[in-house]
Symmetry: C2
Subunit: 147 residues, 2 copies
DNA sequence: GTTTTTGCAAACCATTTGCAGGGTC
DNA sequence: GACCCTGCAAATGGTTTGCAAAAAC
């Protein structure tokens, strides 16, 4: 059974056709995607799922940590598939192909502690998103910043 | 002359009533605010400014680095007033009062380098946002996580 | 059988655009 | 006077909601 379905069951949510379909659309995706992308995917597959259901399921999957929401530099709201196991991590988003890679804590704790020391804030939460080019995209276009 | 106006002049943009008004609305704000907030503020002051002008001016002020856009954990798009001088910095947003404080590089460069080493990505850009409680808000509510 | 979920359509909200008139340099 | 900027209203795009029917447990 796939992780999304298992997450649904464990959390007491119902396993429905729509949710199964959406989970498989998410699995088929490479890199980040938007709700609109999934809506288009569903239509392309001729699997009719209401727009509202897509949004509702993405919310649910976000709660279950099957996906995570990221805000792209453009302000667009996107989602990335996400290992539910991993506790705390960040995403590197490739601006070439959109693929994302998770990275665990790389010393960010030291940064938040330093910031806290400097400002007196009690820091409860942070968001770190990294943007760049993944190795294949670097190889493909060594010098061209677009794609 | 206030910094926003100076920024307009230096950049060759016209200094208009609408822009002056919006600059003063921004100055009057404490903490982060949305475009909708400014629209409401303008209406409250009975200074009629078209919605479109607010959006256009906020875009312009963002380019001029008079304000900066942040994405709140809720996904809301907000703006924070911002020292145009400071080159690279991040924001700490208080979840109590919304106030924000700038912090310069606190070792984040080491983090991005480490992430790059681990993943092979060429990291071009990053976004770090910190959320927590500012000192006054900690004092006001030592134990209550809300406000 | 009860409760949750879906699909639809409409509502909603934030943001953008086209364009004619008005203001700034 | 030329060009930039504004306001308006309409278009747009993304997201949410109410509700009755359908599905899951």
């Amino acid at each position: 059974m796939d992780p999304s379905t298992r997450a649904l069951e464990r959390s007491g949510h119902r396993v429905t056709d729509a949710r199964r379909t959406i989970a498989s659309l998410v699995d088929a995706r490479v890199g980040h995607f938007t709700a609109a992308d999934l809506i288009a995917d569903a239509r392309a597959r001729r699997q009719s799922i209401g727009r509202a259901t897509i949004f509702r399921s993405l919310d649910l999957f976000t709660d279950l940590r099957v996906v995570e929401r990221v805000d792209l530099p453009t302000g667009e709201h996107a989602y990335v598939p996400c290992e539910p196991m991993r506790q705390h991590h960040h995403h590197i988003v490739c601006s070439g192909c959109g693929r994302t890679t998770d990275v665990a804590d790389c010393g960010i704790t030291a940064v938040t502690e330093e910031a806290s020391r400097r400002t007196g804030y009690r820091i409860d939460n942070h968001r770190l998103e990294l943007f760049g080019l993944c190795p294949p995209c670097q190889a493909r276009v060594p010098s061209d910043p677009r794609l």
